[in-house]
Symmetry: C7
Subunit: 251 residues, 7 copies
């Protein structure tokens, strides 16, 4: 039949394609050629059925076409999300929004990118979870591996303490840490100031810039050392405080 | 009539199909052939009605077709979600997003996968609930059975305690546990540092990597042993603390 | 007119249908035949009007058809949700997602299934409420009557208590309950371990597997007996505790 | 003109309709006939304009039709929600989801049904508010007037109390209430068991089944009598309890 | 040109319209006639361009029409919300869902209706804010001015108080209020019973029915008088209570 | 070519337009004429390509048109939001929903209107932020500059205080304020009554009507003066109160 | 073949384009010409296949076209979001909604704009995160770099303090700050008044206008200096206060 001729042509096309300027992976080419052949075969079946139906009943072609196109629309809508995924995947790769090994956040899922495919992206969370996200669902991305990260530590001191003294003590600790962690700290750490006059005390904020993924280590060390430094100076990190006014029952 | 001829052809097609390169399940083939026959029968009924109507009233075909296509569009839209489910199901199977026995999270439902069908996936929750989820509703999947899991335990100590001493005690406990649970612990456990300077004390974090589904056991044992170790050293896990400042009623 | 002929044909069709392989309910058949007749009658009216209009004004048919199809599209879209409901209903029945008598959860509604219709499902909540849910709105279903259910009880003990002793006491209670409720308990109950080092004490978890719908009874009995067992051994279930540090007003 | 002829036909149609098997309300028929007449009049105007335009400029009909159909689509989409409301209203009536006088919940609105129309449903809330809800927005309905309702009362007792004694006291009270309210109580009330080991005490649950809309009365009476019964036996309903550990300032 | 003829016709139409059975506002008629004239003018321009293009290039008409219809669809979709607003506005007016002066709630906005237009509704909030809401966004409406409103006051009494005595005292107060506010109270006020056994005491509920918009006045007066009545009888409205169990530090 | 002729016509049109009854801005006219010319040029290119393709391959026109219309639909849908913005902008201007200088709230953004454009509206928040909102996203608008605003202050007094006395004191303060701020206060201020019997005391509400944007000043002054007035009379604004019941450890 | 001719034409077009009034980037032109050539090549392949199919089977063209247009619609819908992004990007640039270096907020993401592309915008958060947002998802933008920003500090004082005295003290501090930070403070700082009568004290608000991005520095300095000023005057920033009413156990 006609099928064989078309198959030959497909094979020839893929053969020339393989030797062309943009050589495509051989295995892929075989898969595609195999796929294309079966598409052609079913298409020819379909056309033949139409032709036979036409011979028997002149008007049936139209009916069949209508039904087919209804089905086609249904499938088209269904397949829409796949097409959307692939287009989104293309843009992620093309625009290099993130690469394997980056730590990213997508909606409420975060993790280190393990795979960036055409249709799905896979993230490995710190909990060990593997998040599988269709690219079409990746709209807003937060990439935590492009540029230096901020380490931020809030330290509360009681209202009774002297602010300037506490700031001085913390600044000295910051200098020490800066020296000891030169390789991962890019900027700071430094006390930025009084960020809150809260219910249980005054909040001081310490900020540093670090190499990506090292911000948590710096934060932990900052907390440890600041605690020791404040202890040495007798400055307390306050427990919640309450002023109690006693009243006898006279009502 | 013509129906019988078509039925014959369908049977023949399925017969050759069964003996083809990709043999399909016999029971399935019978079901499909039965289904196809009835589809053809109703299609022929429909065409005949059109033909009769045409004979009587030349213009009615058009009217009927219009009405039919309106109905068709309605059905097409309605069936859209089924098509979407099947396409999604195909991708889940094809891309091996999860397999029977995996513990996965989909939206706010979690459980061990019992069935992965073309249209629905069934999860058995730890509560015993059976979640039935259409594949089209499975967009973002979190698979907790691909790779090692993290066991994480937060331990609070009072601000009065010495951080380094507490860390040392907990680290010794971690070593013991590592020895006793070599088969399920892959990495750690170890103290990562001071993760919070909270209202009721300092939070230390212990992290380990375990074989999938064993993270909870390791966490429980970690909590038990750390409690005993801290007790022995006289380090308290603090109850919430409040500083009370008494004031007599002078206002 | 022509109407009578068509009516005859419809009656005949339903008559043969009733005697066919899949006999349909007689009352239903009558309803359907009645419905079909009136559909045909109105269709013929409509065609006649078109024919008359055509005679008077050659181009009006087109206009009317356009207007009709606009209306048709509007109705088609409106009817879409009904079609969706029926398709969803078909899949619920076909896939046996739940049956009358099952206790299921759909979104934020739960209850025992009373009716599974083609268009709606009715749930009887424990509060006595009757939830009426269109099948198209039933996407993710949680079925609590397929397989054994988990009974889970959390017991808090104070940080001062000895964990291993408490666990031993609770385990003995579990053994007793297992013996007394052999018919409804499938597995356990057993203490799984320390699930939390909380603010008011250590949380121990007891888990059992029971026959469906009996999990609440087992949980209640577990709570009652564990309370008595702990009381006997002098182990307290703690009230919230606070450490108060008194400070005189010197500020 | 032709308009008068059509008007005559419409009047005749409605006249025969009024005398037919399903007689429709006379006032309604008049409104409809009036409406139909004006529709026909405007349709004829429209057709005449097309005809005149056609005479002058052969191709303009097409243009006008295109513009009209664009407008038609816009209106069709706009009218979609009305069609949806009417279809939903039809199903509410046809399936008897709720009737005038039922107490129902739709989304976050609840009330006694005052009117069930084809397009809107009106609920009278207990606050006196009149909720007007388009039927198309009524998807999931909870009907509280179909079947017996549950009266549920939670009673807290302190951890120091004896559970079995408290249960016995409450059960006796339940017996009394059952006797006194035979006409509205269908089942119970009875103590189901210990439903919580909470922070401030043990929670016991009392459940009864009552005639619809009487559940609140039964609950109120249950609360009142249980309070008196527990008082008589010296069993306390506990205020929140705290264990205070005093610590002198030595830090 | 032809334009002048059409303009004459439009003027004539509006003239006859003004003298017809449903006379429309003169100013409006002028605006509409002006609008219609310019529509016709631009339509004729458009047709002429098509005609000229056709003369020069036979196939261009089709192309232009395609482009126009694409633009038309875009505008049609955009205009959809306006059409929806107008249809919704029509139904609000036609069904008299609310009228100027009514106090209504739409989603999270509430206020007294100032204007009900075809496209928007304007509400005057009690805060003085003017809410402008497109009618298409008004789906579920709560009308607080159709029927009597409920005044509801919850009164807490301590667990130490005698319930029946407190109820008696409150009932007497209700009687007084009923007498003093006969003109605005329609039903009650009366004590419905014990609605909660809470953490800080027993909650009693007082309910009355009042003339619309007077419920808040009645509630305020109820609160004031009940407070005085309870004070006189020595029944306390309780402050939050805590039972403190002191424990010396022996751990 | 033909292009030059069309350009001439466009220029002429804009020239006459400038001198017409509704003269349009000259700069705008030039921009538009420039824009129109390039549109025409590209359209002619496009038509020429079609014409050439037609000459070579009779059927290709259809193919190209199909592809073009697919692209057109994509663009049409994409441009839909712009069209929607412009239509919404038109209605905002036409209906005068808000004007430059008004203080409005749109969804969760609020500010003084700086610019009302055809496509976007710009709000200047009190924080100095500039909110840029597409008009199509402005559905429900709250305008705080149309009519008098309400100033509302809640004052808590302890349960031990006499309500009527407190009300009298506050009313006197209100009178003073009314006198001192005659120019910005329109109505009130006055005590409306007891709005809550809360956990920490009785809540009294003071309400006034002021000139727009002055409500906050009045509220601040009300709070300041009421505080002083209550202090003078010895009526306390209560701190949270707790009744403590001491219990020795006998359990 | 014909392909070469078309390629020539494309090259010529781009050549003339480069020398035209709006010269486009040379590299871009080459890319585009390369792209266009391959588009033409594939289009010609496609047309040839159609032509061949037509020769063999007269009706197949229609079928292929139908299938192609179904695929085209699917792709069109999928590509819709890209088109939307580009259109939105165009408007962001054209209307200058924000520029590189501005600090903006989009939904729940904020940061300094690093890149404004046609399809995506990149923000650098203060945490160092890089947010990548498709322009189509940027609907409402808040730009914090257009105009002066507000610095706002709330200061709580106890109910026992004298309001006017505290206000005076804070105002003096404000004057000092105004002098010391003339370069970054535009207006104020000043005390606006009593903004709350809260549970733990009276809240006073201090407001200033600063140069963009300097508001946080001013707030921090305000907090520090106000704390010192209040300390000097003996005015306390209050810890949460509770009035305790002791009650012996007599119940």
């Amino acid at each position: 039949m006609l099928i064989k001729v078309v198959n030959k042509l497909i094979e020839k096309f893929f053969h020339t394609q393989k030797n062309s300027r943009f050589p495509i992976n051989e295995k892929k080419a075989d898969t595609l050629s195999e796929l294309l052949k079966s598409v052609v075969r079913y298409a020819l079946y379909f056309v033949s059925i139409l032709w036979i139906a036409e011979q028997i009943l002149p008007n049936s072609t139209k009916t069949i076409l209508t039904l087919t196109s209804v089905a086609g629309v249904a499938i088209g809508f269904g397949a829409q999300s796949v097409v959307k995924d692939v287009i989104a995947g293309f843009f992620i790769l093309f625009e290099d929004q993130f690469a394997v090994g980056d730590y990213i956040i997508v909606d409420n899922m975060s993790g280190v990118v393990e795979v960036v495919g055409l249709r799905v992206t896979k993230l490995r969370d710190f909990t060990g979870d593997l998040h599988i996200i269709p690219n079409g669902s990746i709209v807003k991305v937060t990439n935590k591996s492009r540029g230096n990260m901020r380490a931020l530590v809030n330290v509360d001191i009681a209202y009774e303490e002297d602010i300037d003294h506490a700031v001085k003590v913390i600044k000295e600790t910051c200098q020490e840490i800066k020296k000891d962690y030169q390789d991962i700290i890019v900027e700071g750490p430094d006390v930025s100031g009084v960020t809150n006059l809260g219910t249980s005390g005054i909040t001081l904020r310490v900020i540093a810039k670090t190499v990506p993924m090292k911000q948590w280590d710096v934060e932990m060390e900052l907390r440890r050392r600041i605690k020791y430094a404040l202890d040495k100076e007798g400055i307390e990190i306050p427990y919640p405080r309450n002023v109690i006014i006693h009243k006898n029952r006279e009502r």
